[in-house]
Amino acid sequence: MKRTITATVTNTSGVMNRITGLFARRNFNIESITVGVTENPDVSRMTFVVNVDNHRGLDQVIKQLNKQVDVLKVRDITDESIVARELALIKVVAAPQHRAEIEAVASPFRASLIDVGRESVTVQVTGDQDKVEAMIDLLKPYGIKELARTGVTAFKRSTKKTTIDHPRYSVIN
């Protein structure tokens, strides 16, 4: 199962190395890591998307992270009301006559064309993982030349959204 975990860490040199090394040696399967400084310059926030087999595996990930001296707080926020966003840059093969079409595909995603070349355009899309995946799927038929994704970054919403458990039918949120 896929879980989203955030951790605040002290902003010391090598802290990223500590965390990724921990994941590697404990055989934890990570899908993405993002890291960036928080409102406090001494503290960074990391967001992991991990794949674990069961709750005991998940428990171990959180406990092992917590054991690190540089890790201040760890939370599994998957089941909480959160905002989670990822950014993807997608360079798509696009002859001039296809550009308008690609733009039309991108527009409901509130994705934008941020670079235009002779043979390609680059689409920038922001959203949760499902939305980014959907955008990539739709652009695949045109031919994706390059793809860069940041991985998910997330935190809890200020107010609880009551509809969190309800299925969403739109890819736009």
Binding site: T10, G14, L22, D59, Q60, L72
Partner: protein
Amino acid sequence: MKMEGKMAETPTQENDAYEEVSGSSMLIKALAREKVDVIFGYPGGAILPTYDEIYKTGIRHILARHEQGAIHAAEGYARVSGKPGVCVVTSGPGATNVVTGIADAMIDSLPLVVITGQVATSVIGTDAFQEADVVGVTMPITKHNFQVREVSDLPRVIKEAFHIATTGRPGPVLIDLPKDVSVASGIFNYDEEVDLPGYHPTFVPNKLQLKKLQDAVNQAEKPVILAGAGVLHAGGAAELLEYAETQKIPVASTLLGLGAFPGQHELSLGMAGMHGTYTANMALHESDLLISIGARFDDRVTGNLKHFAPTAQIAHIDVDPAEIGKVVETQIPVVGDAREALKGLLEKSESRGDFSAWRKYLHELQTEYPLWYHKDEETIKPQRLIEDIFTATDGEAVVTTDVGQHQMWAAQYYHFNKPNRWVTSGGLGTMGFGFPSAIGAQFAEPETPVVAVIGDAGFQMTAQEMSILQELNLPVKIVLVNNASLGMVRQWQQLFYEERYSNSLFPIQPDFVKMAEAYNIKGEKVEDPSKVKEALQEALAHNGPVLLDVRVTADENVYPMIAPGKGHQEMEGIKP
């Protein structure tokens, strides 16, 4: 014995604070503040400023002949004294030579503070002479590590290092000290409180969890305690004894937990695990409540997890929450110090269950299937040798070992009735550990006999440390359990590789007696079974180091045994 090293003057808070001193001077001052009375190490280029300070202050430093010897000595010291072992080495090869010992201390939870020299900050990252990324190398095998970039950080870092190494689950902490930082000067302020917002180990366990555990004990019919090294680290042996006695619960030990509960106590089942006693393993197998205290369900204890304690509710007391549920699913987790937990349980333990039928059953197993070996008058049986060491030392000695057959025999036949008398490489299984760790143990307990029970193969990995014995006339007794082979490897090749003894037989050996004599150490070869007791008594009475090269039955195997992949109920080699 004589061990009069010059002690560093212990600086008082008044005379050492807030004066401008060099980084290396800060280090020595901080060690004095931490009441470090001995450091083990080896000098070299990048650590020269620190060694100059050692020279000037006269803090007691034990010079090993290889950095591996220094770190294992620091481990032995830490295990026996309960205080952090301190090891100082240089950059590059000096630091990489202590990697084995750091990994050993990490997996066996020994508090160490390791100081490695490093090249100057201006050349870090340029592949400078004797440069190695020691922080990177040791990151996964230390509890925490630091590289000090500014001399002003040094006092705080050292204080944090000692704090982290000794609190919670103990472990090794490394400080990488670049040469320019140790030369730079700054203000030595060691009075700030440690402030680590990400490090707050739980010491006192949750009362509700303890109540849950005691309720489970009251309802159980076949409870068993599995005592691990966590009891020893917490200094909780007395509390464990009191709790087991009030509740009348039988106690099994892990390899590293030996001595946490008196081995010859009527409630003691002996060691559990691969070469444990049949009774201890069957107790785990048939129990309905397994209370693990400071033990981490190592694979050598559990055997095949599918068959492990199939009918038991698992209660696990551990200071490290990550150990709980890591290997076996746990119904009653208790996070906290083992001693605090036992004290808490003792408060709640007025009511008690009746486990007499269970104890009677286990007692019958003990009588029927004790540890055993074929008695033999022709050769020196290694098991008998350990029993003789037990008798000759009245069970009072500190016994250290490497890994392998001799280790298992020592664990089985030296009964360890007292805590902190057993120093062995459990988790990592390090050859070359036992002898130098005996040196460290002797520094921790100058008046206690220390016997290094070592295989002939492992001894050759760190034998150079006989120099320390020679130099200080340190009365460590080395007993070589010499079977002219890499015994445990040979045993596995016999049992699982159709007797293809690949590189495990050592028909050509050095003359160990001459080796000892080359270091001016009394050496004796013992081949006659009737001479063993006498040789041991003479060695123990001798005022100085002795090496006994005891030629034991060459093809003796360690039994009983749980073969790899088997469960506790499938022990082989129990008494017929």
